[in-house]
Symmetry: C2
Subunit: 224 residues, 2 copies
C-alpha cells in the first residue's frame, strides 16, 4: 500500500516538474521534496532518473496508445474500406488525447508539453524508448495520413508531416506560457481542447495547400 503511494507521488511530482522545467533542469531532489518522499526512493523504485522519465511517459502513453488504436479501429470500420479523410484522422488523434482519463485538471496539457519536450530536448534514451515502445500506433497514423493525402508526392507529404508535427509539438510544449501571455494580453481563457480545435483546421489546410512550390519570391503578390 504505502509503496504505491510513494511511487505515484513521485510520478505526479516528476510529471509536473519535468513539464515546467525540462528534464535536465529538474533534479531528483526537487522531485522528492515536492513529493515529500526520501531522495533514495527514486532509485529504489525506478532504478535511475532515466527510468523514472520513461515511467512518467509510460503511465500516460500506454493507455493512450490503446485508446488511439481503438479510435482508429472505429474510424476504419465506419469508413467501410474507404480511406478516412485527413480531418477524420486528425480528429481521431486529438479526440483520443482529450478523452483520456485525466489525473487532474492540468492532465492533458502537462502531457502535451512533455511530448513536445521529448522531441525537442535531444534526450537520446527517451527517443529510443518511445520509438521501440510505441512504434505501432505511430506507424498506423502515418499510413492513415498517406492514404488521406494521395495527391501529395512522397517528398511533399514527408515535409508537411514534419510541419504538422512541429506546429503541434511546439505549441503544446509551450502552451502554458502561451496561455498565460494570451490571458494577460487579451484576457482570454483557453483550454487544450480549444487549442486543438484551432490547430486541426490549420494543419489540415496546410497539409492540403496548393503547391506553390519553387515559385520564388514573386515580387508582386500571389495569395492562393
Amino acid at each position: 500500500m504505502a509503496q504505491y503511494d510513494t511511487v505515484d507521488r513521485i510520478l505526479d511530482a516528476a510529471e509536473e516538474l519535468f513539464a515546467d522545467r525540462g528534464f535536465s533542469e529538474t533534479s531528483l531532489r526537487m522531485i522528492t521534496s515536492k513529493a515529500k518522499v526520501n531522495l533514495a526512493a527514486v532509485n529504489y523504485h525506478f532504478g535511475s532518473k532515466n527510468a523514472l522519465i520513461h515511467a512518467v511517459f509510460a503511465r500516460f502513453l500506454t493507455p493512450f496508445s490503446a485508446t488511439l488504436e481503438n479510435a482508429f479501429d472505429d474510424l476504419e470500420a465506419r469508413c467501410d474500406g474507404a480511406p478516412p479523410t485527413l480531418n477524420q484522422t486528425l480528429w481521431a488523434l486529438t479526440e483520443s488525447a482529450v478523452r483520456m482519463p485525466q489525473r487532474n485538471e492540468k492532465g492533458i496539457s502537462i502531457f502535451m508539453r512533455l511530448l513536445g519536450l521529448a522531441y525537442t530536448q535531444s534526450q537520446g534514451h527517451l527517443r529510443k524508448f518511445l520509438e521501440q515502445e510505441y512504434s505501432q500506433p505511430f506507424s498506423r497514423f502515418m499510413r492513415l495520413l498517406k492514404e488521406a493525402t494521395p495527391q501529395l508526392s512522397s517528398v511533399d507529404r514527408y515535409w508537411r508531416i514534419q510541419f504538422m508535427l512541429g506546429a503541434t509539438a511546439f505549441t503544446m510544449s509551450s502552451s502554458d506560457a502561451l496561455r498565460d501571455i494570451l490571458q494577460n494580453k487579451l484576457g482570454v481563457e483557453t483550454t487544450v481542447q480549444e487549442i486543438a480545435a484551432r490547430l486541426v483546421p490549420f494543419l489540415a489546410a496546410g497539409m492540403q495547400a496548393e503547391d506553390a512550390m519553387l515559385v520564388p519570391p514573386a515580387h508582386k503578390s500571389s495569395v492562393a
Copy 2:
C-alpha cells in the same frame, strides 16, 4: 587580434554545441575543449555562461534584425501604402534569413534550432534578453501579419502565429537530421531554401484556413 580569435572560436563552438545538445546539457568544458581554448576564457571574455548564451544569439540576431528591417522597408515601399500580403510578408522574412551571410554551410539551420530551443527550454534569462533586445522587428512582423490577415480574430491570429512559429522552428531545428533521413529513404537532396519554399505555402494555407472552429468531431467527413 588573438583575443578576438579566442572569442570567436568560443562563439562558434558554443553555437554548434548548444544547437546539438541544448543549453543545460552543454558544459563550458565541452565548449572550451572544442574551441581549443582555456576553460577560464569563457568567464574572462563573457562573464558567465548565461552571458555567453546571450552573445551567441546576439551575434546572429543583431545583423539579422537589421537585414529584416530593410526587407520590411523595401516591401512597404513597394506596396505604396497598401498592406503587404501574407505571402509577401512571409517571403520577406525567409529571404532575409536565407540571405544572411553565413559563417559556414550549416549556418541558418543551426540558428533556427537555437531559436526553437530558446522558446522551448524555459531559460528565463534568455527569453527576457531576447524580448527586450529585439522587440522592435518582432513587433513590426506581428503588425504586418495582422494587416495581412484582417479576417482573423485576434485570438485566432495569435494561435495561428504560434503554429507557424512551431512548424518553422521545429522543422528548421531538425532539418539536418530530416534531410539525412530523406536522402536515405527517397534518395533526394534538399537545401534549406527548398525547405523554406515548401514551408511558406503550408504556413500561408494554414494561416488562411477556413475557420472550422468549435465544429466538433463531425463524425462523417468535412474536408474543406
